[in-house]
Symmetry: C2
């Protein structure tokens, strides 16, 4: 069985959301699975000195237009929420705690949280929203709330972010296939060819 | 007749080079023409505070790999030159002087200069190289050399850069179709659909 594809994203990244809607089918079409790795772009920006795309001169204005056009191009819906970008520590921590207990549930939670934010405009920076979405996906709300209050899950997310940066991950989405890195949802055509041919 | 497509690029941008190899056929397939607009990314960076891609932490390493992989994906050759990135004022000034006299010659010069740099590794920051390439494309070497020594062509390029920034142009390649902006050679699929459907 071939190694899973690593799929890094930040819950506040529209392009990351688009890839989340595509990556599993993409992987499955080539007999692979995807390993979802939410992380924090803010942790990368501390290393790179970068700032969030929407606050960049010129690029920020363009990005807002490109988010929505790229969604239409990919057959998806995306409405940039009023609060954007947001902190996604809570959502990412919830993901890892859920994954340790039930990977399929964690995946359902992640996709539901992304849709809640980018389609329905819910503010998933808030713990209550994260707990509601996780509970609706089948999680034990009280147990998750307790885990989110503890230190272990904070450290876990820090470790995941540090590991991502060590691997050269710096954007969202960021996909690694057998060591080959692909940054951006616009790399889907290259990812497809890479999976189909084993590299080019 | 539909308006021309505007194609902005910097002579030192690999992704700009890839688009230069594609844009005319892309436009022609939809009954359009492309208006080539070399400009200086350095002028944009003064506004945005950005730095050249290759010198960015994490992104720079990735970019070098992505340049060559994207070239292969697009069926093109690209060897990142030893001197990279370089100043492209002379090449851009030469382009505009040639364009004022003979647009088709200017186009031939631009593509030849990009290939000289990205395929053959010639340092096109040097005026002698620019003059040689222009002469080989059919230009009057002495007249071009004289123009490059004057103030008028310097001001012309400054004006082109200022106008580009005013239009929100900030990257290379950057394509504008009937007011709609597309940044990056990876927007070719969106550009194709836009040209085919009149917008989506």
């Amino acid at each position: 069985m071939a190694e899973p594809i690593d799929f890094y994203f930040d819950f506040s990244s529209p392009y990351g959301y688009f890839m989340a809607e595509k990556i599993d089918a993409l992987a499955e079409a080539h007999g692979r699975t995807a390993r979802w790795r939410p992380y924090l772009l803010g942790a990368v920006y501390k290393v790179t000195g970068d700032v969030p795309l929407p606050s960049k001169p010129l690029k920020g204005e363009y990005a807002k237009r490109d988010f929505e056009r790229s969604a239409r191009f990919l057959g998806l819906t995306c409405r940039i929420p009023q609060a954007f970008p947001i902190g996604t520590q809570v959502a990412a921590r919830a993901y890892y705690w859920l994954e340790d207990n039930d990977p399929a549930l964690a995946r359902r939670f992640a996709l539901a949280a992304l849709r809640a934010y980018f389609v329905d405009g819910r503010d998933i920076s808030q713990e209550a929203a994260v707990l509601d979405i996780a509970a609706a996906a089948g999680a034990d709300r009280a147990a998750l709330a307790e885990a989110l209050a503890g230190e272990a899950i904070r450290q876990r997310l820090k470790d995941e972010c540090a590991q991502a940066i060590e691997r050269g991950v710096f954007g969202s989405p960021f996909v690694i296939i057998d060591g080959e890195p692909f940054w951006g949802v616009d790399r889907i055509p290259q990812i497809e060819r890479w999976l189909a041919t084993g590299g080019f």
